[in-house]
Symmetry: D2
Subunit: 318 residues, 4 copies
């Protein structure tokens, strides 16, 4: 039963898979409730932890933002503030004369993959205002932010990582925040969870098919990644369902169940034709993606623009 069949971009889920198998992976998990929002950290240790989770060593923070698209403004603002606090913990020390670059990864034309570009569209960019109107910039209490949506390989013919790297080389930010859609193994996590880390995005991750790594090492500056699960791999979903069945019943006690072959047959049958390699997402992805992007951009704006009250945030955006 190979792991590769189960796709998840969440470190916490990779750890869960190990835990379900009773396989210790040395990942240290901590849960915290901050202002009614659950924040879970999973520390992946070098070596065994990396091998068994398939994630680079580091601390992965999962913020349970919940169903943002149903929030009133009070709860929205509270959740954005908690998320902003977690982002702050990952940001390097402010460098007054440099900016932070937000890169919104993904394809704006595929709804569940559009969260990165949609976050970008709501970033209050100020790098140019600082240059053009320093007085205004200082009086409002802006930080210096720039933002790009590099598109995806199929739209540009250029690896996303190449574009991001080239812009970094040009404008020399002191940190880059990468925002991307991820895949999860559970429908219930779709768009209700945000994963933060400082280890970058790995090849083959998520839905955007970025083939080149983007990390502090490859980009040359500190990287903060913000990932939102917006799709579930259909095969992973099927697999988990089946495993639950085995685990929760006395089926496994029969011993005669050749689970792996059976699994392959069923997945083959159910997804014959177009189902293969299918990512699935909620029907309401449009509104879900829009509101989740608004939450994340609000959190980033809060973290950088210390002078703006969250209630006035909307007025700086067109």
């Amino acid at each position: 039963m190979e792991n590769y069949k189960r796709r998840t971009d969440l470190a916490l889920e990779a750890h869960e898979i190990n835990a379900e198998k009773g396989q210790p992976d040395g990942v240290i998990v901590n849960e915290n409730v901050i202002d009614e929002v659950m924040v879970t950290t999973a520390e992946v240790k070098p070596g065994r932890g990396e091998d068994l989770t398939g994630k680079p060593a580091g601390v992965y923070t999962t913020v349970d933002i919940g169903r943002v698209w149903q929030y009133d403004s009070v709860r929205f603002n509270k959740t954005a503030t908690v998320l902003s606090g977690e982002i702050n913990k990952l940001l390097p020390k402010l460098q007054e004369d440099k900016c932070i670059l937000v890169a919104g990864l993904g394809n704006v034309d595929i709804t569940p993959d559009s969260i990165g570009p949609k976050v970008c569209a709501k970033i209050i960019v100020t790098r140019h205002i600082r240059a053009l109107n320093r007085e205004l910039y200082d009086s409002i209490g802006f930080g210096s932010l720039a933002a790009i949506s590099p598109g995806v390989l199929g739209q540009t013919g250029i690896e996303t990582a190449e574009i991001v790297k080239s812009v970094i080389d040009k404008i020399s930010p002191y940190c880059v925040i990468l925002v991307d859609a991820l895949s999860s193994r559970k429908l219930s996590r779709l768009a209700t969870t945000v994963q933060l880390c400082d280890t970058g995005l790995r090849p083959g991750a998520g839905v955007s098919n970025s083939r080149s790594e983007m990390s502090t090492e490859s980009l040359g500056i500190p990287v903060v990644s913000i990932g939102v699960p917006t799709v579930v791999d259909a095969a992973t979903l099927a697999y988990d369902l089946l495993e639950e069945l085995i685990a929760g019943s006395d089926i496994k006690s029969t011993g005669s169940c050749d689970f792996d072959n059976l699994y392959d047959d069923i997945v083959e049958k159910l997804m014959s034709g177009s189902g293969r390699n299918m990512f699935i997402s909620p029907k309401e992805s449009d509104v879900i993606t829009k509101e989740t992007a608004r939450l994340i951009s609000t959190a980033i704006n809060l973290s950088l623009h210390k002078g703006i009250d969250i209630k006035d945030m909307g007025e700086y955006l067109s």
Copy 2:
């Protein structure tokens, strides 16, 4: 094991579910390949057929349009022509002085539910041209078509059926073509299948949550329904997976498997929180929905505007 747990709007699938259980439902199925396109008819008989499929008696035609979004123009046109031929079989005899109304049901803001409005947007409407410029109308060989997108209850506060009925009462078409998104039980059928019938749309059907029936009886004129499965109910998908597992293994022979309770537990667990009542759809719904809508509108335009060659179709649309 109640049927209500498994949602499908396709008569053929309802029949499949019965067949899998070895339950004869009196539905007569016929398969035909027309110009390389598979066309299946399922005749639901009154009485037992209706009870066991949950569909009104009538003939349901399923056209396997395939993955339209990957077609070249030759295959696209061939498929549209076959689909148009099947629509023709359902249309009532032409009434020269009246029009046909196309009603595109669903919510244009939810991608998988937007197929109806998207078809409407590509209908070559001509009812007004006939009145304003009869010479042009005749010379091109138009038929008389009108089209409305009535929106959904949550957008208008008015039942879709009420709006459609009121427009029918006003403009007196001799037939209404309803286009709507449906739910299927198989990922592989999503957007690769079109169901045609003349029995109308039933309460609770599909994804658009129309609560009032639209049928020849309720609308007072012949109804042709064109439905496209664009979502799968997550619970139905899970159920089918589990049943496949049981059916394909020696698990059922143990006899000890309390399948129903187990099923409920697993679904509960997997979809706890937001998963409940979740409809899922492919990640690429945007492009899939767009191209499928183009196919259906092309087929309808072909059926009604006898004077237009399929190759020139695009020129009558803005």
Copy 3:
């Protein structure tokens, strides 16, 4: 110098044209500043007033909403509140058991013509909630609102007035609010002015090319029209420019200026080809239309849903 050359849908502008010519038209104009917002009423008298303005007798209220797309939330809410107050003056007495229907006229695919559909999309519709959940409805303090976007003749093949009338006949509202884009003669009025009246919309008005009148007489119930100038007719703009020139200079004293012929020549020359019958609008129509629609929908929501505070308005919209 025929009037037909100068297109304006604003009664106030029709009066201005007369005033500029020194032609008394019996229109009584009153200006009021309410909470820093200028509100002007123009009362068109039957007979001479109608003939010289080309507008049906009645009171036309012009609210100078200003450049909404640049407002902070305080000013936005203040302006919406004043606009709501003016709408209230035109609404008939509340009929508890009936709803008000908002009809958003125009073509959603042509930005400057999309203000009607965009307002509709932000109306908090409640007619169905009242039926489905009376307790919720009462506890929040909703009024009963329904909303439709009937599209335009070229999209539907059906006159807008026919669709609106058919829905009115079906659901029997006690009042209909029509929202439409208008044409103005001044660039400076584009999207900075709203005209309210209870005389309906006239044939040939505005940009939406509705050919059939929609008035209390034709629709059978009280009509409140909300019009927003979003385009300027290019010929009207040219004409006004030229007339200004003549008026402001000693040119007219030469007497030899055959102004009308000259005008025709110039307009011909400047707009040869595509310029003829051209409506023009600001480059930023997208953001302007969006924000102005938000203002108008907020004002309508305020007028009808007495229980909702303007600050919480956004939470009732998806």
Copy 4:
């Protein structure tokens, strides 16, 4: 009467302005009709030509594409082929191992400014296919194309020129094609004309407010610019109207007309408030921009992908 009051990005129009004043500017104009499409070249000479037109010396080709949004496919393809031929004349010699980069300048959210990004979206990008699947690449007859939409300063906080330059430095194309919206002085030229040149885009040009020059000199590789007039500066339109009036009448013979002051007064009056610095565009910008972008992308695809027949072009785009 200063030139700065009249904004045009078209070299041909700058020359027209001089010609109308009877001021020789040394620009050599040639007209050619190719396959029913008018192609005009204006050669701006160094020195006097540059000073009087405000354009860098070089050859500017104007292709009268006409009202593309009303074409049937035959005329569309013919026009695209002529345009492609003119692009070919400006492209440097093919370098087999390098790509051409298309940069679509402008703001995708402002319709008349979105032509660049919209062209990009329809470019058949192949740079990555060449690397990933050389056999496919060769068999179809692709050329190597990459494409980016760098956004505008207000969205990114980064000068467009900086982003374009950084990507050029990274991927080393042998030529960059810049596509941008321009301003014209005549309504009749809007979206019916395309200007091609190899002199780059100048600071302050067009509507996208790019402040930094993009030229062969600044970018380090050959530049081909494709500009489409999509807006008219309202003040320029007014000015031209007035000048026509003077020119076409015996007004100027009075001698007493202080034209400049008068002009300022009138423009002031007409555009008081929001009219200042207003760009105007046709009401139907949405459809116009979309179809014009399709024409330009088709022409670019034709120029680079020698193996694809124009009739099959659509099949390589999603």
